[in-house]
């Protein structure tokens, strides 16, 4: 007996929702960033699930590229956070309102 594909999709949907809650409620920029990584990973889980169930390699290639982009995104994003911390001495996104109209 094999696991129905729905189980994986629901787990992925749950992790994505938790990631959204993290992005919307946390005020620490680094934790917001980690929640984005969680959402990326839940999308990866969906891709891998379909790739495995359909027997198609393309989904796993896509996950590979998502990982590459996530690494680049983490490097640049954390550099931006460091630069902001240098200037404002905080990573609380409530106090970073430079671009607020």
């Amino acid at each position: 007996m094999q696991i129905p594909i729905e189980y994986y999709l629901i787990l992925s949907a749950f992790m994505f929702s938790v990631g959204i809650v993290g992005v919307l409620t946390r005020r620490n920029a680094i934790v917001v960033f980690m929640s984005v990584e969680l959402m990326l990973n839940s999308a990866n889980l969906t891709l891998i699930t379909f790739s495995s169930y359909l027997g198609d390699t393309t989904g796993q290639l896509f996950v590979f590229f998502v990982m590459a982009v996530a690494a680049a995104e983490a490097a640049v994003g954390l550099a931006i956070i460091i630069a902001i911390f240098r200037n404002k001495l905080t990573v609380n996104i409530d106090e970073i309102n430079l671009l607020k109209w």
Binding site: M1, Q2, I3, P4, I5, E6, Y7, Y8, L11, A13, F14, M15, F16, S17, V18, I20, V21, G22, L24, T25, R27, N28, I30, V31, F33, M34, S35, L38, N41, N44, L45, I48, F50, S51, S52, Y53, L54, G55, T57, Q60, L61, V63, F64, F65, M67, V69, A70, A71, A72, A74, A75, V76, L78, A79, I82, A83, F85, N87, T90, V91
Partner: protein, 171 residues
């Protein structure tokens, strides 16, 4: 219960619980460590799904490189501890959770409405074949060689960009 299902329940519950803990812990270091555990459990799920190469890459790239990077930045910045989850602006946060729970219910409803297990059944031989490093490498260096090279340039650009951004104060 098959072994596959037992492993799915173990790794899946670790994934779900650590995701929730990661979002609710006030200390960012503890959040980061729970995220590492979450990524490790995800690698386990990838192994159940016969995606061996991606499982290894997940542990090396995500749980290894990216999370160490996060921990380094947390250590450098030493951000102040946040309030506990429901201490500050509790009503707004509960409202957020309710809205997101509605979205989740909608997603699950759509998943059951589409009923993918009715049309998609796993053929183990194809599934194992799709996850080997051989088939991934063959695809990557034939059909997807251009995106592969582009990813290399993207990483180079990100490295240089990170150096430039973190180097000096803005004028």
């Amino acid at each position: 219960m098959s072994l596959e299902l037992i492993l799915f329940i173990i790794f899946g519950s670790i994934c779900a619980v650590t995701a929730v803990l990661m979002v609710t812990r006030p200390n960012p270091i503890i959040s980061a460590l729970f995220l590492v555990l979450n990524f490790a459990a995800l690698a386990g799920l990838y192994l159940i799904l016969n995606a061996q190469f991606i499982a290894v890459a997940q542990v090396i790239v995500y749980a290894g490189a990216i999370m160490v990077f996060f921990l380094f930045v947390i250590m450098l910045l030493n951000p102040a501890k946040e309030n506990r989850f429901l201490e500050h602006k509790a009503k707004l946060k509960i409202f957020t959770v309710v809205v997101v729970a509605l979205v989740l219910v909608q997603l699950i409803y759509m998943i059951f409405l589409a009923h993918p297990s009715g049309t998609i059944t796993k053929e183990v031989a194809n599934s194992v074949n799709a996850g080997t490093i051989e088939s991934i490498g063959r695809e990557m260096f034939t059909n997807y060689v251009l995106p592969f090279e582009a990813a290399g340039y993207l990483l180079l650009a990100a490295t240089i960009g990170a150096l430039v951004l973190a180097k000096k104060k803005f004028e």
